[in-house]
């Protein structure tokens, strides 16, 4: 089978980012040779960007094993060394990284025997042997702890339906969450009954000045990510291209920004965010609108930054649907520090 040097289909890459690597990885949305996919199941290459907190290393191994064969992985050192693993770290710029990803993908596709083995042991987490000490095998469908995991049981909810409660820990490498953030939710149907947000226990790099307004580049990167989460991948690519094309002084062509803003308005994205994630009287649509204004007219004084703790944000998310909660988290700018959230 002849494999050409130019891959015409985009290479599916799943990016597991640390806090430092997340921003540069969003610039990859500008490149049509790479497709940043939302789950490792769709990916052929796992990209590990930047240093990862030490208590998330096992989660990273688990994500690596969830990429289907033939798989390979690439590490990108931006802002620090990535954790050790079967990958070799590369310290290149964006163009170099794209070429490394394409080469890795073509190599593993042409030689599937070089696909990477599992990093975690092949052990079923909870064996089932007859009627066990946790009640598995004897309880039937109503409760009990089959395979060592509890069954969902009912609980009261706002509509009086008493649906089953599902407890999920949405981990740090989910595409829909900012880097390093873990979301513990209790879901009934799709309504969040209870949400808790955690950062990693290990001390991450502290922001130089968390109260300083974000630069154009980081705003455009966050905008590109939020547009991808909304399903608007074409607009996400356009925002990423603007982020990559920023000049040294951080200026970009206002005509391009105005065009992007017009396309966003025509798609109605801000309209879908009405009433989502209300914090201090401003919802996600207000926050994004003020960010887009600050891009086009930098002298405009925006509203004062709101600081709230992660616990308060978790409490504010209770009662929303899961998709609204994800959109609300995407509209908030998280400081690098431990507990503070800064919005807008």
């Amino acid at each position: 089978m002849a494999v050409s040097n130019r891959s015409s289909a985009p290479v599916p890459v799943f990016a597991s980012c640390g806090v430092d690597g997340w921003g540069p990885v969003q610039d990859l949305r500008a490149r049509s040779e790479i497709e940043l996919v939302s789950t490792p199941r769709h990916a052929s290459v796992l990209l590990v960007a930047g240093p990862i907190a030490s208590d998330h290393h096992e989660a990273l191994d688990r994500v690596h094993d969830q990429v289907p064969h033939p798989r390979t992985s690439v590490a990108w050192a931006c802002g620090g060394a990535p954790p050790s693993g079967p990958w070799t770290p590369h310290e290149t710029d964006l163009d170099g990284l794209v070429q490394v990803l394409i080469d890795a993908h073509l190599h593993v596709v042409s030689d599937p025997a070089s696909s990477e083995p599992d990093r975690l042991p092949d052990v079923v987490p909870n064996e089932w042997r007859g009627v066990g000490p946790f009640g598995q095998g004897g309880e039937g469908m109503m409760g009990g702890v089959p395979y060592g995991r509890p069954m969902a049981m009912t609980g009261d909810d706002r509509d009086g339906l008493a649906l089953d409660q599902l407890h999920l820990r949405l981990g740090p490498f989910l595409d829909a969450l900012p880097p390093g953030l873990v979301l513990d939710v209790t879901l009934q149907g799709e309504v969040l009954q209870h949400a808790e947000l955690h950062r990693s226990g290990a001390e991450g790099p502290t922001d130089s000045d968390p109260s300083a307004p974000p630069g154009h580049r980081s705003t455009l990167r966050q905008l590109s990510w939020a547009l991808h989460l909304a399903g608007l991948d074409g607009l996400a690519a356009q925002a990423a291209r603007l982020s990559v094309g920023l000049t040294e002084s951080g200026q970009t062509d206002n005509a391009d920004l105005a065009r992007l803003r017009r396309r966003i308005r025509r798609r109605g994205w801000l309209w879908t965010l009405r009433g989502v994630g209300a914090l201090d009287g401003r919802d996600a649509a207000d926050r994004w609108r003020s960010r887009l204004d600050s891009l086009t007219t930098p002298d405009l004084g925006g509203p004062a930054d709101l600081r709230c703790a992660l616990d308060d944000l978790g409490r504010a998310l209770a009662g929303a649907t899961l998709t609204d909660a994800v959109a609300a988290i995407a509209s908030v700018r998280l400081a690098h520090g431990h507990a503070a959230v800064v919005a807008p």
């Binding site: 789950t39 490792p40 199941r41 998330h56 096992e58 989660a59 990273l60 688990r62 994500v63 094993d65 969830q66 289907p68 064969h69 599937p112 025997a113 696909s115 599992d118 990093r119 975690l120 042991p121 092949d122 052990v123 079923v124 987490p125 089959p146 395979y147 995991r149 509890p150 069954m151 969902a152 009912t154 009086g160 339906l161 649906l163 089953d164 599902l166 407890h167 999920l168 820990r169 949405l170 981990g171 740090p172 490498f173 989910l174 969450l177 873990v182 149907g189």
Partner: protein, 118 residues
């Protein structure tokens, strides 16, 4: 008749081959197999802590049962309505007995709370 049997046999064997052969070939040519870490559902890095089986209400179910039962009663009343005028009071009494037997079912459903909205 033999040709019809052979045709059926040919179709059945082709169906069998076309379903079993790809699965067998795929299994034989799979170099990696499926391991436990590969099968963990993707939640962003952690293992799931509870089962994802959630029960949902099927609130239309008792309504549907009642509807079907009395729809069948209506089916019996359609031909009765055609001949009722000719037959007179005897037909009326017979249909009344039929309906009273079925109304025992309504009484049972009422006692079981099937007519309560919540």
């Amino acid at each position: 008749m033999l040709s019809a049997f052979l045709a059926g046999l040919a179709v059945a064997s082709m169906a069998f081959v076309l379903t079993v052969a790809p699965v067998a070939l795929a299994r034989r040519r799979d170099p990696w197999g499926s391991t436990a870490p590969n099968r963990v559902p993707f939640l962003g890095g952690f293992e799931p802590e509870t089962h994802a089986w959630s029960r949902f209400h099927v609130r239309y179910y008792p309504m549907t049962l009642l509807f079907i039962a009395f729809e069948m009663e209506m089916m019996f009343m359609y031909p009765w309505a055609v001949v009722y005028v000719e037959e007179g009071a005897k037909a009326l009494m017979e249909m009344g007995m039929f309906l009273s037997i079925l109304s025992v079912g309504i009484l049972y459903a009422y006692r079981e709370g099937a007519f309560r909205w919540q």
